[in-house]
Subunit: 148 residues, 2 copies
DNA sequence: TAATTACCTACTATGTCAATAGGCAATTTG
DNA sequence: CAAATTGCCTATTGACATAGTAGGTAATTA
């Protein structure tokens, strides 16, 4: 199971914004794209999703960009994953059409419901700032190499 | 994030085998395919994977088929997911090439490692038979509808 | 006014997934 | 032995989502 770049870039962008925003100032898409070495145009599309989900607000024009709507310690990872359409795992053919009681439906419902719950319980328990802090601790000295 | 039919069918096939095997007798691919209404040829490919992973053994010829190599209460869900190449989530570009210390790598490593751990802890804690039992309890009366 | 930025829409190439198909090898049963 | 059944191996294909590209418009600021 591969994680889409959409989710990867979305997480990365939020982290970048949290790191490089000064006092709620905006961080522009071109800046993020250059720092993280990802396609600017594609990033814009992803940021639009995050905006519509209410996680960031946008400011057009010169000196514009994006900023978090809430402080990083008030954003849960589960919100981010949900915003990027990745909150839950589900089988291809949505379970239980026509209410037919197939073994297939039973297995699907039971299994993925439980696995999703395990994932969500973790993602709901962690805030963006907590996650960044843990990241920082794990990377130890290397962290300073890419934080200006 | 969608779960592939490969995983879905694989789980389903193992459950089917566990249910319809009598005293370690074999269950044939054609039978499974018909009961669960999935493509026989495609199912064969998946069963081959499960065989190579050591979860089932195969018997060729008339009256042949597949059987669990261990009782269902000695098979953990994590083994099944791993056998179907779905044990872990990982970003598209495998993290950390060239040992460059990018923020991207840091976020990827830290995030997916934790989420995978949450999933695996669950999957390792459950055996196939426990899962089937919980499924049964949840479905209550409906269970008997498709168990001959 | 000019530059910068977000935003919107359409298009496209690539790759993976989910099969389909055909044939071969092994085994059992009559 | 013969025939049917079953697993196994490999190649091919159609559909679809992903990951990006591209171009233009609207808002904002210096």
């Amino acid at each position: 199971m591969k994680v889409s770049t959409k989710v990867e870039y979305g997480m990365l962008a939020l982290t970048d914004i949290a790191l490089y925003s000064d006092n709620g100032s905006s961080v522009s898409a071109p800046d993020i794209a250059e720092r993280q070495n990802i396609s600017q145009k594609y990033l814009e599309q992803i940021l639009t999703h995050l905006k519509q989900a209410g996680l960031i607000r946008a400011q057009k024009g010169l000196r514009g960009g994006y900023a978090l709507t809430r402080p990083a310690d008030a954003i849960r990872l589960s919100e981010i994953l949900n915003a990027l359409d990745t909150g839950i795992l589900e089988p291809m053919n949505g379970t239980g059409k026509d209410g037919e009681h197939s073994l297939r439906d039973a297995v699907n419902t039971c299994l993925w419901a439980k696995i999703n719950r395990a994932m969500l319980e973790f993602a709901e328990s962690k805030t963006l700032s907590e996650f960044m802090q843990e990241c920082r601790e794990q990377m130890a000295g290397d962290w300073d190499l890419y934080i200006i």
